[in-house]
Symmetry: D2
């Protein structure tokens, strides 16, 4: 998805592609002043050494991005690749060192590229949940623990820490703890940094975020909501590991109860089907009850490409958060919940209501309010 | 559906059923003062002589309403049946006489039953479209024409006329012209009568009214939206006639263009499949485009019972319109668009936005504002 | 399902229902001489004390069998109930005693009712797999082990043993080991008893048994075949236990590889959704490849009532096996594979081919061949 | 589809593609001696001047055939293009002249290329039905009429006539009358020419041809079978014309009644949705009844590429019919019904049974029997 986002941003900047899929292009948001695509500079960290241009070609072969586009952008992609640092996997101990290295890279990147500000977006592989720890309560305790030999933070939180230390805002696009740890929240607040999360809402959950309110608004009682997600690709391979899937399933599962106000029997599966490549097919079956107890059902099949759906949202979030940073906002930006499966600071999941908050918030940035 | 509404209203009044499916029972509307179910009195006109208790038994056999309920309500249903007038089909000429008879019945019903006010809800069979006529422009011209030998008004409009003449408010739950004729609008205004319409939004279109905004809010471009509706029952039999179906298809078709802001290839079929009885199965296939031109799809299958979905809305509308009448409102009540496929006076089809208007409007009634 | 089978058999015998769903009623089999429905006598064993007439009423309330039918058959059902023995659950040790009691009941039933022969059909709850044991190899070893304190046979095998000891033929309609244990096979052979199994093929697997051959016959390569089964009811509750589900999933999983001749990525889920009651909804998604590597897909949703689908097959099997017994057949009756997900003695799963074997076999019974 | 067939045949001949999708590659048929792919020579008639290599590129852009393949085969495709004659549309009168020209081209092609024999496969656009005429009864009458000014034969029949006159065998892959006209049948017989038809069975109907027998074999009563086909592409554009669609719908409709033995309510739609390009999405909803009258349903969504499904069958048919011609067969080759929606000379639609006939027939060719 990171690759798709970079290809897309370059294409939009060079007017080789239109803005379909970008929420910031909607009439309601088009008046908001945001960084221009031409002014964005991309860098990153990855444990995988595959060069970005090659990744882009693989995506083109898989039909995710147009082959011609990848060809036209070859030089630009090689340029971005030079700004990607290859890192080792997160070690189990002495995590502070790892974080320091990330922070250092971020500062260097900002200086070298002359960026006004940097937004760190976590789009690394879905991580397994990490138990909470007393060291999470307080920054000093956290940093002490990070010097030790045991794992203290999961990857998403480590990057949040490194970002905040480097004066960067942070988006967690994955279903992890990210900045949702008291010590990290405090750090962001102290450094005047805004952040957002978590877990981009792109497929099955997006559909749920409009269908669940529909049942609610008609006072129809949902009796069960079963879901199956079939996906290949990198994310699919990661989620084939039950521990990683646990985080994702928890993230996807919150919406129903929080929107309907009662608990629903909602079995949910994620199956890795390599054959499906970068596409995901999800089937949901909803059983509901109407007037005088009558039973009815709705089922849907979503066939989408996750990275094509997620990439424009990553770009939207980066631009919006950069602007929030410029406007002096800090802490969790709840009105960005529109973009997430598990929105921080709120249990509002209804897409329409989320959009209204988003517009109000973005419009207020503009005026520097 | 009329039968289901009556069975349900009696059941709710006698606390034999809960209020699932009734929108007026939602927290957002529960504060609004409305006529009590215990105070409602039902009457009606029908061309079909089948007694109401027998119709209710047929519905019970078809699994639409609980058999035990019909048994418990047998006496009450017989009571309502005595207040239903059997009428001949609408004649092609001398329609004023037909209307006068309806008006007379309505007045008599109100007096005999001691009702404060009467709401006429048109739930007759879907009618074919009727060409507009110069006589529609003005009340005097209309009444002259109604004395003649040619058809001037379709059934829905004739009932609207009769209702307004009798001092009753009017809901058109069917996809016809109803009160949407200048002369009738004037008459309602002149008599201080509110009205609403048209065509209850219960199944496939309900789902559309949340999915179309979803695509819009994510700036995903809908490329085609094909729909097939399979239904049996009385409405299915009527819609097997292409002329009647024309009205329904037009009514269902408005939402997409008006919500998305561009025209979409949207073939739509209604098939009469007697075997499905009172249930409707609808399949929609949506093809859409995301970032960098990627093609994706969503399909859904809705399996619902139209009359169970529609009946509580009819009761909601009757109570809301009675209250609007009491509060002195007149003319088309646009905020009731929440209930309709083809809402009068607005091209807002987004369910969430419609609900907000509805709540604001209903809350203002309360205060007599 | 046992209840549905008894209700149905009584209804057919008394001409209160037609023979839809009974395979033995097809033109191809209608010439085969089989026991008349009028001549069947039902008995059974169950650990559940609920009386049969009450179970039938519950099924009527759930819409599985017609209420009127249950009312008309009340006395007959009470009669069958008197022939059902309540038994304790299978003990972990001294299983020979349990078996002896079953055998005794079977003999007594046959004598008392004056039956020519008895077919035991196992339709007990799905059992977890039991490890194979050296004692399974030989009848003497088995009987010695059955006297001990450890479990030796799972329920299905214990009933097979008891049936064979009592001179009864045996059908395993569940996904367990049943008679597929060498010592039991020998016993059946020695006593001249035919048997069949296992796991009735009624829903998703039935559809697979025609779709998989379709792909094969067109030389289309199946790339993945994912399945999700949502079910409530008794069987659903049992399968909510992962250990019981293991047997079912193994049984369902054999068809694909054995029919296509290559292994396919085929994730398969069974979810217990109590709300669905006696109905099952299964969704399968098949991805396949055609000429020049093109990818295509097929998906289906099956919405069926398992017991209504299984009950007539149980009756078919009982009648066919009784006739096979009469005709002197013994051992596994492979041509009955038509009825099973996991047919004994063959890897032929194609429904059409299975039907041809069935007809040839049944026709040969007739002639006493 | 013609383009896909040629690209595929060249690719298989040059070992650039495997034989997925070719029925003649199945184990059951692999022993049959058939013309080698290397020995096939392609020519044709078309009213459309687009050069074949360009058509192939368009298909590659649409994802139907691999881009790399089209590039590698560019020269060969240009070679085939030189053997395609552009013709005017079929005139309304003096059709004998048109036929004579086709016949002449066919003979010239055979001589120039040194082919042992030529198979004419009609894959022209779906034609509207043509009323039968007394002139169809007899060859002399037919040829007299063909000299006149009124249309006598539809396109498929005209090509059949031209083929037979030129000593070529004929396949009608389209839903038209083709060779199913007495005078043409006589002509084929007289000239010792085999023929086959009609309307390739590739998508929704293929699935029907295994599902309908499934219901039949389980004695489940189909109550309704509704189908919707959404397709773009050339065939979609043609079928947007109701007159052309009539032929297709009739062809698709035969299977159900002929397989089940009773008539079923079976509404069937074909919608032209240009957006879907060369892919077709079909949804079928089947309502059926089981034991004791219980209602259940099955629905499926087929998402396939018609030309990729049809192209290998066209190649199979050409090779099989060439061999039949060599083996001295003449007249309608009923065992080729496996390939067709509307098989000539039989009402057997069950795919499994059709395959068995095919194998028996093809095996007998081998031996020259
Ligand atoms: N629609 C979507 O694609 C979508 C939606 C919501 C959330 N997400 C989340 O976004 C994330 C990425 O999804 P994807 O489809 O791009 O997955 P992917 O597997 O294609 O990419 C993950 C990348 O993270 C890199 N990575 C792993 N560990 C790392 C580490 N320690 N440091 C730096 N990089 C590391 C991997 O090498 C890989 O390049 C996942 O967590 C996923 O759950 C994706
Ligand atoms: N979910 C829904 O059920 C739903 C949703 C939206 C709109 N509607 C509309 O509501 C209407 C009723 O639907 P239904 O399912 O109850 O249909 P139905 O066929 O069961 O009932 C229609 C009734 O109207 C009566 N009628 C016909 N002509 C009449 C006349 N001239 N005067 C008086 N009565 C007459 C018929 O006798 C019948 O009793 C239809 O127009 C339908 O399009 C229904
Ligand atoms: N379509 C189908 O219904 C279908 C298809 C294939 C296989 N099966 C198999 O048939 C079996 C029965 O299915 P069902 O839906 O009727 O389930 P169910 O749960 O409704 O019935 C199972 C019955 O077995 C009884 N039982 C449990 N342990 C017993 C014991 N030790 N001795 C005697 N009786 C015992 C239970 O009390 C219950 O009455 C299951 O194993 C299921 O997997 C069913
Ligand atoms: N799966 C399938 O593709 C499939 C299955 C069954 C049947 N068919 C039938 O095969 C036929 C072709 O399908 P297609 O998808 O290739 O359609 P298409 O529209 O892509 O191709 C039809 C071709 O026929 C040509 N043509 C039209 N009139 C002609 C004439 N008078 N003489 C010579 N050529 C003429 C057109 O120019 C065009 O090149 C259709 O009749 C279709 O119903 C196709
Ligand atoms: Na939240
Ligand atoms: Na087997």
């Amino acid at each position: 998805m990171a690759t798709t986002a970079v290809v897309g941003a370059l294409a939009v900047a060079q007017k080789l592609a239109d803005r379909t899929g970008l929420v910031t292009d909607l009439p309601g948001l088009s008046g908001v002043v945001l960084p221009d695509f031409e002014d964005l500079v991309f860098g990153g960290h990855d444990i995988d050494p595959t060069p970005l241009p090659h990744r882009a070609e693989l995506l083109a072969d898989a039909g995710v991005v147009p082959t011609a586009l990848v060809r036209m952008l070859a030089a630009d992609l090689a340029g971005v690749d030079r700004r990607i640092r290859r890192v080792p996997p997160l070690p189990a101990g002495r995590q502070l060192e790892y974080a320091a290295r990330i922070s250092h890279d971020l500062r260097e990147f900002r200086d070298r590229e002359g960026c006004d500000r940097v937004v760190v977006v976590n789009v690394a592989s879905t991580e397994p949940p990490l138990a909470s720890s007393p060291a999470h309560a307080d920054l000093a305790a956290l940093e002490t623990a990070l010097r030790g030999d045991s794992p203290v933070l999961s990857l998403s939180s480590l990057y949040a820490y490194a970002a905040f230390r480097a004066g960067c805002s942070f988006v967690d696009f994955t279903p992890g703890a990210g900045a949702r740890i008291p010590a990290l929240g405090d750090l962001a607040e102290a450094n005047g940094l805004p952040w957002a999360g978590s877990d981009g809402k792109t497929g099955e959950t997006l559909v749920k975020s409009v269908l669940a309110p529909m049942f609610a608004l008609r006072n129809l009682r949902v009796r069960s909501w079963a879901g199956t997600n079939l996906l290949g690709g990198g994310d699919g391979a990661t989620l084939a590991d039950e521990r990683a899937a646990a985080n994702k399933i928890a993230s996807k599962g919150r919406l129903l109860g929080e929107t309907l106000g009662y608990e629903v029997d909602a079995p949910l599966h994620i199956d890795y089907v390599p054959d499906l490549g970068d596409f995901k097919t999800a089937w949901d079956h909803i059983s509901f009850e109407g007037f005088l107890g009558l039973r009815m059902s709705l089922q849907f099949t979503w066939h989408g490409c996750d990275s094509a759906l997620a990439a424009p949202l990553v770009l939207d979030l980066a631009r919006l958060l950069a602007q929030a940073h410029a406007a002096g906002r800090s802490g969790p930006q709840t009105p960005l919940g529109f973009f997430f499966k598990d929105p921080v600071g709120t249990d509002e999941h209804r897409l329409g209501a989320q959009y209204e908050s988003l517009v109000a918030w973005a419009t207020s940035l503009e005026s520097g309010a």
